[in-house]
Symmetry: C2
């Protein structure tokens, strides 16, 4: 609880919506897996639990990554940038799938001759990951 | 100019300020060097010139990274994430310094027992990089 109190937002420059972008990077390979947002509570929960928690701008709520899919992110190290307005998590991705599309990471489209071209396919379908969404 | 016209913002989900965060990652080592913002024009200039251009929220203007410091970023590949709201640049960092503090990258502070602890020192001082700022 001490760590939670000390780190809950100290030195983080949350934006006017109270959010900060967080990058999840594979702790071993360096692959950038995804970027999501954190509010003060999501950051504190991440530190406290050692599992990545983010804030959903569409659902307006904090969530633990993997709570539906099982694709939890085990946090190994947490960094902040020089301006204090971007968080970097070095993580181990459970299940090897970070993207909600079922892909290894979210950055699967590459700019080629003026068009975004998908570089790799999903490892699982969304229905396999999440079941039939209600 | 064709590439510029085709790619100037297509499929990118700029936020309500017309901006998108862009991550610069070392194309060889995978090290995350910095995160900055791009507007439509900065993205188009990046594609057109092959050098990273960003948008300064404080100066309210697009700028080419390295125009003052000489620390240009040569863009090797450009990716976008699943939601289209984060850009990833794989780059070669001229001079080996991405951070305005003179460090290799901006993520030099690590969370240790509830405090941010600097992990490495600048390679050059800011005055060495920029001269005496007016």
């Amino acid at each position: 609880m001490i760590a939670l109190e000390i780190t809950a937002g100290i030195d983080i420059a949350f934006n006017e919506q109270g959010l900060v972008p967080a990058i999840a990077q594979d702790s071993v390979t360096g692959e950038i897996l995804m970027v999501a947002w954190m509010d003060r509570d999501a950051f504190a929960r991440t530190v406290e639990t050692g599992k990545a928690c983010y804030y959903s701008r569409s659902r307006k709520a904090a969530w633990m990554k993997g709570e539906s899919s099982g694709h939890l992110q085990i946090v190994r190290e947490i960094f902040i940038d020089c301006d204090g307005d971007v968080v970097l998590l070095k993580i181990d991705q459970i299940g090897g799938i970070a993207c909600h599309t079922g892909r290894r990471n979210c950055f699967f489209r590459k700019l080629e001759n003026g068009a975004w071209v998908s570089q790799f396919e999903p490892l699982k379908s969304e229905s396999e990951i999440y079941g039939e969404r209600k």
